[in-house]
């Protein structure tokens, strides 16, 4: 397994090189001239040239690419163009609030989706199954923004069950006071598609010959579902969770913007609005790295879930 992991880590280098080149190309050719954005209300070409010089965007593309590569490997993306804060500090201070929301969302949503999906898969074709599927379809067809606006208004303002918005210095206060409504919203919105997807994974397993054989041998239903169906369905479920994990680190920008959560998602939106390329570049590269590492972790976990899987 160690050899496999080392080989996969080694293979990440060309992937990362591709990511770096792609990001550099996109920002250089389509990002436009940042000096024009930063120059203020009244500026002349000479001042704009001075800003270009200070940002280093007047240097050759090869030099700029080399600086970018250095930044990626030293984790030092310099300073934000719009606020002059250190980019690394922005990321480090913002990732906590994002994860305070997104980790509970992932855990609650996954557990609920698995439990409900295995339940409806077991009673497939019944009125309960069809009702839940209809609810899921309706829930999925409404925009997240609508949920946020309605839930914030109803539960935050009218009923006063949760604060309308806010965040504090205390982790526990955040988790138990400010986070519940955004978490509830994200779970509510994310649950329907997950439930449908996981249901299909379970249905596929329930219809397999080995399940029929187990039933014929008189194995109790709960053992069949828990030991055979759930375990076999975990491979695609794990893959799905793996896809979801990198997104945890940027959170839901809509939740962060509407509930005043000082997280990474909100930073991304602000950075885009201000053409703050160092921040956008750092977050993009860092997400690409997390995606690669999570993919590796998921592949390794397959082995633990299903011993038949060979890591080659």
């Amino acid at each position: 397994m160690a050899a496999y992991i080392i080989r996969r880590l080694w293979q990440m280098i060309p992937t990362l090189a591709g990511v770096i080149l792609l990001i550099f190309f996109l920002f250089t050719y389509f990002g436009g001239d940042p000096a024009l954005v930063l120059a203020g209300k009244i500026s002349n070409p000479e001042q704009i040239e001075n800003i270009r010089k200070q940002l280093g965007v007047d240097r050759s593309y090869a030099y700029q690419l080399w600086v970018f590569v250095q930044q990626v490997f030293t984790f030092d993306f310099g300073r934000s163009w719009s606020t002059n804060e250190e980019v690394s500090k922005i990321i480090l201070t913002r990732v906590g609030p994002t994860l305070t929301i997104m980790i509970p969302v992932l855990v609650i949503e996954t557990i609920l989706a698995i439990v409900l999906a295995i339940g409806v898969a077991y009673v497939r074709g019944t009125l309960t199954d069809r009702t839940i599927m209809i609810i899921c379809t309706v829930a999925m067809s409404i925009s997240f923004l609508v949920y946020i606006i309605v839930f914030q208004w109803l539960f935050g303002f009218i009923l006063g069950w949760f604060p309308v918005q806010g965040w504090s210095e205390s982790f526990w206060k955040n988790l138990f006071t400010y986070a519940p409504l955004p978490i509830m919203l994200a779970v509510f919105v994310g649950l329907a598609p997950q439930l449908r997807l996981y249901r299909s994974f379970f249905l596929e397993e329930i219809n397999q010959d080995y399940v029929r054989t187990a039933r014929a041998k008189g194995v109790p239903e709960n053992v069949i579902m828990r030991k055979h169906v759930l375990r076999n369905a975990m491979i695609p479920i794990l893959t799905n969770i793996g896809i979801y994990i990198p997104g945890l680190f940027v959170g839901s920008f809509l939740l962060e913007v509407f509930f005043s959560i000082p997280g990474l998602g909100r930073e991304v939106v602000t950075a885009v609005n201000r053409s703050d390329f160092p921040v956008i570049k750092a977050i993009t590269v860092y997400l690409a790295m997390i995606t690669m590492l999570v993919n590796l972790a998921v592949d390794v976990m397959y082995k633990f879930v299903d011993p038949r899987v060979q890591l080659k």
Binding site: K41, I42, Q54, T83, W153, F157, P262, N273
Partner: protein, 609 residues
């Protein structure tokens, strides 16, 4: 002996209890104002930042030599750290200021435990910082081609890579510890307004050198408050500056008929200001949470009520019953600003609408006539705006309330006639007009994609143009891209707005001054007649003669149509009854140093929060 010890213990317990009670009472009495900004700040180095919200915070931390009287309308300059408002000498080219002795900066580690007094060389240093290329100051233009010798210092710094702050120049002369004299290259009767800008404030050189590139996070000034806590784009906390000398409300220029003035006087008369101990500001960019945070009582004041909620707050222009019952008050303010659509007049960059030939001018004028400004006020602005008649908004020196030209009024019939006359007719019968040479005529309208309000305005523009047979494509773009495109002339028609830096028409009219192309003249308008009038207006102090020049310039704009005038927006600021002393200043964004808070009334209304 034992009795003595017991007595001592009892006394100690009593004293401790008294201290705890006093401390609790003191905490309970703390006047903490909680409020919000609708856009996030960027930092607090006065020479490096120009956004309204960062500057709004800096207004409380730093002090310019001059400021505006809180109550006077029209606005009026008054001395702040200077002893008086100086008179221009040498035909408007020399201004000499005397500072009040004994003004102290807030304490900071950079001062090594010593008290630091404000002196004239701090002003010299700070003004030079605007021109130091390292600072990339967005307000560099304020001192460009302005003070004798300063441009040369900047040029030298660009060559050597280091700005020589020690160099003495004629343009900024420190006469003595408290006296500074400025020599201008040309007369400028608005220079005093420049020195009243909340950015044109002294910073201490030791502080800037200590914090280097982190100067945005370490503002140290002589103002009433200091930055206690800052989580960028989430929370800003100001607390009283213990070194601040305090002041009392100036009632001299108050309007006896203005209820806000009279109420502020009743609330603040004779009190030593500032009164608030702490101010917590939360930038919230989305409209709903910002509105609900106020409605919920989380915030005491809401500046600029979102337009989306205006019908709930002010149905039919009157405060809603539910808010009135809670004692909420609304302050209505027509801001010294204008929204507009700039037409790219440069024929090289915008051949369809650019140029000064009669057919190009006719096309632009027809677009002005085709747009229904009153509809914009009614629908998109929900009645919270005034249709602009000229470039100069109300509340600004040079504003003429009687100025009105037919060319700026909505008149689709005239628009159609004008287009017909110059050959813009529908030749292929598809319902849209072609160019005079018969080729396809499609105009591009770029707007800020950030909010619904701008999208609605774009839709109104397209609708108005379609009604007279002009085909327009609206292109939503990121705000930063729109800024960039306007600056380089990569657009045909672009949405825009301008808010006064200082309250004089010149600050608006410079937007169409020919030599400002590539700077602030996004329309790239170059009309020699306009430029001559503008240059002449700079040499004349505020007078009927200068107002006549401003009027003439506005007539030329109506005739050549480099802009379609939009509106002057009206904002409604809401506050709960426990907020005392409120009046919104048209130039300064915040007024915390004039506010008081009835904490007991708030606690009673909200229970213990």
């Amino acid at each position: 002996m034992r009795q003595m010890s017991a007595m001592r213990i009892l006394v100690a317990i009593g004293v401790a209890a008294l201290l705890v009670t006093t401390s609790i009472a003191a905490t309970a009495q703390q006047k903490v104002l909680r409020t919000q900004f609708r856009t996030a700040e960027t930092g607090f180095d006065p020479q490096q930042r120009d956004d309204r919200y960062s500057v709004g915070i800096m207004e409380n931390i730093f002090e310019p030599m001059l400021t505006y009287d809180y109550l006077a309308r029209p606005v009026r300059l008054v001395p702040l750290t200077a002893t008086e408002v100086p008179k221009p000498d040498e035909n408007g080219t020399r201004y000499t200021f005397k500072l009040r002795p004994g003004i102290l900066f807030a304490d900071d580690a950079a001062f090594n435990g010593n008290k630091r007094e404000l002196v004239a060389s701090d002003i010299e240093y700070s003004i030079k910082r605007f021109r130091d290329p390292v600072n990339r100051s967005p307000y560099e233009w304020l001192f460009e081609n302005k003070l004798v010798g300063l441009d040369e210092l900047t040029a030298q710094a660009k060559k050597s890579g280091k700005f020589d702050y020690a160099a003495k120049i004629e343009g900024i002369r420190v006469v003595d510890k408290y006296t500074i004299s400025f020599k201008l290259k040309e007369p400028d009767y608005n220079f005093l307004y420049v020195l009243a800008l909340p950015n044109v404030v002294p910073v201490a050189r030791e502080v800037i050198e200590k914090y280097g590139s982190n100067s945005n996070a370490h503002p140290v000034g002589t103002g009433p408050y200091l930055l206690k806590e800052w989580t960028p784009r989430f929370k800003i906390v100001l607390e009283r500056n213990p070194n601040f000398r305090g002041f009392t409300l100036n009632e001299q220029f108050a309007d006896p008929k203005d209820e806000w003035d009279q109420r502020a006087i009743a609330d603040l008369r004779g009190k030593k200001l500032p009164l608030l101990d702490r101010i917590e500001i939360y930038p919230i960019e989305e409209e709903q949470p910002r509105f609900l945070a106020f409605m919920n009582g989380d915030h005491d004041v809401m500046l600029e009520t979102p337009f989306a909620f205006i019908n709930q707050v002010l149905p039919n222009g009157k405060l809603s019953d539910s808010l009135a019952k809670k004692g909420v008050r609304a302050f209505k303010e027509a801001q010294p600003e204008i929204t507009y659509d700039a037409f790219n007049v440069d024929p090289m960059k915008s051949p369809t609408i650019g140029g000064y030939e009669p057919d190009k001018v006719a096309l632009r004028r027809a677009m002005v006539l085709a747009y229904d400004n009153e509809q914009e006020v009614r629908i998109a602005r929900k009645g919270q705006a005034l249709a602009a008649q000229s470039m100069v908004p109300p509340g600004v020196v040079g504003y003429d309330p009687l100025f009105r030209v037919e060319a700026n009024q909505h008149d689709p019939v005239r628009a159609k006639a004008l287009l017909d006359m110059f050959g813009y007719v529908d030749k292929d019968g598809d319902g849209y007009r072609e160019k005079p040479d018969g080729s396809l005529l499609t105009l591009n309208y770029k707007y800020n994609a950030r909010n619904d309000e701008n999208r609605q305005l774009a839709e109104l523009f397209v609708k108005g143009m379609n009604e007279v047979g002009l085909r327009v494509t609206s292109l939503p773009v990121q705000f930063s891209d729109l800024l960039r495109d306007r600056k380089v002339g990569k657009y045909e028609i672009g949405q825009s707005a301008w808010i006064a830096d200082y309250p004089d028409a010149q600050n608006f009219l410079q937007l169409l001054y020919g030599p400002h192309t590539d700077q602030s003249n996004d329309a790239r308008f170059r009309l020699p007649a306009f430029d001559r009038l503008y240059e002449k207006s700079l040499t004349i102090p505020d007078s009927p003669e200068r107002n006549a020049l401003y009027r003439e310039m506005n007539r030329l704009i109506a005739a050549y149509a480099p802009w379609r005038m939009g509106v002057h927006r009206v904002f409604n600021h809401l506050m709960y009854p426990w907020v005392k002393g409120f009046k919104k200043h048209p130039i300064l964004y915040t007024n915390y140093m004039y506010l008081d808070l009835d904490v007991a009334a708030r606690d009673k209304a909200q229970g213990s929060r």
